[in-house]
Amino acid sequence: MSERSVRMTVNGEVRQASVEPRLTLADFLREKCHLTGTHLGCEHGVCGACTVMVDGAAVRSCLAFAVQADGAEVTTIEGIAHPDGELSAVQAAFRDCHGLQCGFCTPGFVVSVTAFLRDNPGPSDEEVLDALSGNLCRCTGYQGIIRAVHQAAGTLREAAGA
């Protein structure tokens, strides 16, 4: 099957490669861009570990082909921290609240929560649970993650008000 050339901006950097159409966006990021922070758990859209932002929208990168993202702007977990390496509010809150243990699911959670809080800066408890329902974690029991989302929301609101 013929390969196609794709070009997209990943974390601000232009990436170009010739790929098989069946290559998922997740595999493109991991294998062609060597950005292995995007994790692959189930590879059929259930676990959420591979969540990245495509043109600002949080999506499952295992449920998109790289060819579909031709021309798009992609943000992965590697693009979430500040350029000087300082953790983002969401990342810092996950650390502070024990929102991770083994860390496998964490990139997907952090990207999902980053997009969620951008669109809904003052979520209710129920909205937080709903937003987290698309990501699976097998270690934490979720309580630390839920606390992290609320803490990050507070930090971001303060920063916006300041």
């Binding site: 099957m1 013929s2 196609r4 098989e20 159409p21 069946r22 998922t24 595999d27 189930c42 590879e43 059929h44 859209g45 959420g48 969540t51 929208a57 949080a58 999506v59 499952r60 295992c62 449920l63 998109a64 082909f65 060819v67 579909q68 031709d70 999902s112 969620f116 649970l129 709903d130 937003a131 329902s133 698309g134």
Partner: protein, 291 residues
């Protein structure tokens, strides 16, 4: 978990897409948001030699009011439908069903047309389209035609579209007057396909008598279904006096092909379905009567 190889086509106009589909025939499948198609390709439950990605055809996305209906382009994402003020005010049932689809990350890519053309009996949009008597706009190289929702779903994941036809838009009638709408689902985990669910639309007259109503059933057959018997029994009766539980029992009465699997027997799903109808009816009735 890796799809089999395929050729990828990304037409930028509808005629180009239709020509490709016609030329490639059975070898080709339309790719919209991919949130149903890519998992089945990844699991290799199905294989296609060609995928025709319609995501770059600008004219297929968008929401507009046309006379008495709201027309939604096939590639409009579920997230866009859920966030649209016109959908919320003109077709509340569609707006209320949207948050029940998967998770927000899925709705960011999944499309209205993809969901309806995929025709999963446990999915929300096919049931909403059937409940509201939506009109499907389909196109082929030979021209365009319309299919009533009632004639569109003809089996599990199967529609009456011809192999060279493609769903381009869906028109949802806007209900006026004293109306109420309800959608209820039961799933073990949030975002899973429902074990059973129901959609209800109803309109009452000045005296709170049911003028018209529609009851849709989710996950209780090989297609989305309408509970015609329960609907006709309710029309003409006072909405305030109707027993919602009785409507629920009646709606699942006589269902013939209720699915059964390790998540639940047919009889269990039937009972869950009755309860979902009852709750959706109660909510819709309350809203219509202005309680």
């Amino acid at each position: 978990m890796k799809p089999a190889p395929f050729e990828y086509h990304a037409p930028e106009s509808l005629p180009e897409a239709l020509a490709l589909l016609s030329e490639l025939g059975d070898e080709a499948k339309v790719l919209a948001g991919g949130q149903s198609l890519i998992p089945v390709l990844a699991l290799r439950l199905t294989v296609f030699a060609n995928l025709v990605d319609i995501g770059r055809i600008a004219e297929l996305a968008g929401i507009e009011r046309r006379n008495g209906s709201l027309r939604i382009g096939a590639t409009t994402t579920e997230a866009a439908v859920g966030a649209d003020a016109q959908v919320a005010s003109s077709v509340p049932l569609l707006a209320r069903a949207t948050p029940l689809i998967g998770h927000f990350q899925i709705r960011n890519r999944g499309t209205l047309g993809g969901s309806i053309a995929h025709a999963d009996p446990a999915a929300e949009y096919p049931a909403v389209a059937l409940t509201l008597d939506a009109t499907m706009e389909v196109a082929s190289p030979g021209g365009r035609r319309e299919i009533a929702a009632g004639d569109f779903f003809d089996g599990l994941w199967s529609t009456t579209m011809a192999p060279d036809e493609m769903l381009t838009a869906v028109r949802f009638p806007v209900w006026g007057g004293r109306c109420g709408f309800g959608v209820e689902e039961f799933a073990r985990r949030h975002g899973d396909f429902a074990m059973a669910g129901a959609t209800v639309a109803l309109e009452v007259d000045e005296a709170d008598k049911v003028k018209r109503c529609a009851i849709g059933l989710i996950g209780l057959g090989s297609t989305p279904l309408r509970a015609g018997g329960a609907e006709s029994a309710a029309v003409g009766s006072s909405a305030r006096e109707i027993d919602a539980a009785e409507i629920g029992r009646r709606a699942v009465d006589g269902l013939e092909s209720v699915p059964a699997d390790l998540h639940g027997s047919a009889s269990y799903r039937r009972r869950v379905g009755a309860e979902m109808v009852s709750r959706a009816w109660a909510a819709a009735s309350k809203e219509a009567c202005g309680e």
